[in-house]
Symmetry: C2
Subunit: 419 residues, 2 copies
C-alpha cells in the first residue's frame, strides 16, 4: 500500500525495519538508507525471504540535504522514518519539506557537538527561560511548526517508547479512564542483567549526563528543578520486582504539560541499581568521567573515552542480557466525580526480543513504536499539517498496534508508588 524510506541502520533501525517487514500489508516497499551501504545490504539479505516487502538500499549522508532530497524524490515514499542519529533530525526534516513527504522520528534533536557555540548559546538561553536544565527538549524541532503546516505535511516527533508510547498512554488514559488527569508519573524500569559488574547500555557519556544532571518536573504550571538524583521512589514492578528509581528530566514532560488539560504534576523516574550508581560515583570520584583531555605521558587523553574503551561494547550486551523492562505511566485524577489511579505499562523480555529481532529490549521497545508511528502516518490515520508529538493524535490505533506488534500493555487500578 505504501513506500517507506528508513534512514539509519543501527540497533533501533534494525528493529523498526524488521517490524516493517513483518507488516508487509502496510509497507509494501521499503528503502534502507544509511552512510554505510554494506550494513543496509546485510540487513536486506537477512530479511529477504522472510517478508513480502520489497526492500532496496541506498547510501546516504543524512547531513547532505540536497543529496537526501534527491534520494527522497527519486524513491518517492509516503514518509521518511528517521532512526538515524539525533543530530541529523533537522537536516532530514529539511529534506522532507523540500521533497514533500511526511516525517517520523524517535529522538529529539541535539547538536553533534553540544559545545558548538550556536547550539550552546540557544540551549543556555532556553534553559534560562525555562528556569531549569532541559537536558533534552523539542524546541529545535517545534520551530518547524509553520513550515510543516504550510507544506501540509506531518512531522511526528518522538515515536519511541519514552517519549512515544508513554505519551500515547496519557492520551489513552485521558480518552478512556479520566475526566481529568491530575498527575502523571512516567516510570522507566530496566530489570535486565547483563552479568557484568558494570557496563552501560549505550555511550557512558550519555549515561553520565543523565545521572549527573539536575532533575526537573512540572508542577502547577511551572518547572521545579532538583539536585541530581535528589528524589527517590520505589515501585513494585510487575514481573520485575521492587526497584529504586530517581527523578530525571525527560522531554515528554514538556509536551504532555501542553497537551493534557488540567494536569497538575508530571514527573519522570528511571530505575538505577545501587551497584550501577556506586560504580558511577567511584568513577566520578577518581576523575574517570572527565570529558576534558588530560596530558598522559605526552599524549592527550579524555578520561571518559578511555573508560569507554575499557567497558564492554554495548552491542555485546544483547545476547547476554536476561530479565525484563517494565515501562509505563501512573495516572491519578477524577472519573465521574471520583478519584482514580491507574498504571498502564508494557513488560518486555530481553531474551525474547533478542530471539525475535537480534536486539535486546532497549532497542526493541523503541523500534516497534517507530514502526507503528510510521504505519499510522503512512496510512493516513495520524496525518495532520504541522509538527506533533504522539499524545496529539487518537491513541486507539496506536494502542491496538502495540498489542499486535509485540508490546502488549496492561492497565491496573490503584498502583502504589512508595516514598
Amino acid at each position: 500500500m505504501s513506500k517507506l524510506l528508513v534512514i539509519g541502520c543501527g540497533g533501533v533501525a534494525q528493529v523498526a525495519i524488521t517490524k516493517c517487514c513483518q507488516n508487509s500489508a502496510v509497507f509494501t516497499e521499503l528503502c534502507i538508507a544509511s552512510r554505510t551501504l554494506s550494513k543496509c545490504d546485510a540487513l536486506k539479505s537477512a530479511l529477504e525471504g522472510t517478508t513480502q516487502t520489497k526492500i532496496t538500499t541506498a547510501q546516504i549522508d543524512a547531513m547532505d540535504v540536497p543529496a537526501l532530497t534527491a534520494l527522497i524524490k527519486d524513491y518517492n515514499p509516503v514518509a521518511v522514518l528517521n532512526v538515524a542519529l539525533p543530530y541529523q533530525d533537522l537536516a532530514i526534516m529539511d529534506a522532507c519539506l523540500a521533497a514533500g513527504v511526511h516525517y517520523i522520528d524517535t529522538a529529539n534533536y541535539e547538536a553533534e557537538d553540544t559545545q558548538d557555540p550556536t547550539f550552546k548559546a540557544a540551549y543556555d538561553k532556553r534553559c534560562a527561560e525555562l528556569g531549569f536544565t532541559a537536558l533534552f527538549d523539542y524546541s529545535w524541532q517545534w520551530a518547524y511548526q509553520e513550515k510543516f503546516k504550510e507544506a501540509g505535511l506531518t512531522a511526528l516527533l518522538g515515536s519511541g517508547f519514552d517519549p512515544g508510547v508513554t505519551s500515547v498512554f496519557a492520551a489513552y488514559a485521558q480518552k478512556h479512564y479520566f475526566d481529568e488527569i491530575h498527575t502523571i508519573d512516567i516510570l522507566d524500569c530496566n530489570g535486565g542483567d547483563h552479568g557484568y559488574p558494570f557496563a552501560t547500555n549505550f555511550n557512558p557519556e550519555i549515561n553520565l549526563r543523565e545521572v549527573s544532571a539536575p532533575g526537573s518536573y512540572w508542577e502547577n504550571g511551572k518547572w521545579v528543578e532538583t539536585h541530581p538524583m535528589a528524589i527517590h521512589r520505589t515501585y513494585d514492578f510487575d514481573q520485575v520486582g521492587t526497584k529504586d528509581m530517581y527523578l530525571l528530566h525527560h522531554e515528554e514532560i514538556e509536551s504532555l504539560a501542553k497537551n493534557i488539560p488540567n494536569v497538575k504534576r508530571i514527573r519522570f523516574f528511571m530505575t538505577f541499581g545501587q551497584s550501577y550508581l556506586t560504580h558511577m560515583q567511584c568513577l566520578e570520584n577518581v576523575g574517570l568521567l572527565g570529558t576534558e583531555a588530560i596530558d598522559f605521558e605526552g599524549q592527550s587523553i579524555v578520561p571518559i573515552q578511555f573508560l569507554k574503551a575499557l567497558l564492554p561494547d554495548p552491542a555485546s550486551l544483547g545476547p547476554r542480557t536476561v530479565g525484563k523492562t517494565n515501562i509505563g505511566c501512573i495516572f491519578t485524577g477524577l472519573k465521574d466525580g471520583k478519584e482514580r489511579s491507574i498504571y498502564i505499562y508494557n513488560v518486555c523480555d530481553h531474551q525474547e526480543c533478542y530471539r525475535e529481532v537480534g536486539s535486546q529490549a532497549i532497542s526493541y521497545t523503541t523500534g516497534v513504536p517507530a514502526m507503528i508511528g510510521a504505519m499510522l502516518v503512512s496510512d493516513g490515520r495520524w496525518q495532520d499539517a504541522g509538527v506533533f508529538t504522539t499524545e496529539q493524535f487518537d491513541p486507539d490505533p496506536f494502542m491496538e498496534g502495540l498489542n499486535a506488534w509485540g508490546l502488549p500493555w496492561t492497565v491496573v487500578e490503584n498502583p502504589t508508588l512508595v516514598d
Copy 2:
C-alpha cells in the same frame, strides 16, 4: 661519635635524616647520597643551622656497586643506612661487604621488574616451597647470612615500623611480659583522612597488590593461605576508634615464626575503610587496575598507570592528612602459669609529624625506627656478625629510643579483638 652514610632522599629518608640530625651526639657526621644530588643538597640546606651533625652530600647510583663501594670507602662511615628503593637492597649490601661497613634497611628486597624472569622464577619456586603467596619476603637477603658472618659485619633488615618496631615489640613482650607467647596479632591501623573521596598513600599498584593478593598466616608450624581479604576483624583502637581490618601476608610473620619460641599463631591485619575498598572494587571491575597495556586510539596504555595519573599525587597528601595511626601487636600467652594478653602500640598524629618533619605519619613511623636501628648498630649495642631482623637483638634500647625520638608506646592488658 660516628659517621653514617644514608642512601636515599625520598619521604622516609628525609624523616630518618632529620631524626639523625636531632641526634647529633651519636651521628656526628652524616652523608646524604642519592641519584639526584640537588635533593640531597636541598635537604642539607634545610637542616644546617638546626643541627650539630656535619652534613655532606654525594651523587650516587646505588645500583653501581663499584661506584658505591668507592663512595663508602672514601667517606668511611661506621654503617650505611639504606632508605632508597627496595630493588637496590642487594647492590647496597654487596657494596657494604666490599667496603667493610655495617648495613641497615627498612624494606625487603624485590626486583625492580617483578616480571623479570630470574626474579619471577625464584619467587615462584619459593612460593611453591612455602605453599603460599609470599608477597614480600626476606629470602634474597637471608641468602647473605654467611657473607656478613664471615666479614664480621652486621646487616639489620627491616628497621621500619612494620616490619621493625612490631618485631621489637615481640622481643620486648617475650623478655618482660611472657614466659611463653602463644599468639601474635600485628595490627596496622591508619586512621588518617586526606579529604579526598579516593587517593592512595603510595603507588596504587602496590596498594592493589596488597588487597588482591591471598592472605596468609602462620599456625602450628605451617602457613595457612586465605582468599584475598577473606578474614575480617574489628578493633577499637586507642585515639582512633573502631576500625575494620583484613588479614594480609606480611614479611615479619616469617622471621617471628623462626625467632619467637613456642609461638602457635602469627597474623597481620591492616585497616581498610569501606569507601577505599569500594573504590578499589569498582576500579577493578571496570579494568582500571589492569597492569597490561591496552590499545587505545593507536596508543599503548597501561590502565593502572593512567589511573595513577588521575589520582592525587601521594606526596600532596601530607599537608592535608589529619588523624592518627595506631600500630602495634596483641600478644597472648602464659606468664607465671597464668594466661595473659597485652597490646603494645604506638599512636602517631599525621599533623604533628607534618609540623615536625614535613611528612605525615606513614613516613614518620618508618623513618624514626630507621634512625634508631642505625644508632644501635653504629654505637655497637646491636652489632653481631650476620644478617638479622629486629627481634633478634635486646629490645630494651630500641624501646627506649622509641620513647625518646617521637614514637612513644603503651602497653594495655586484655585487649579485645572482635570477629
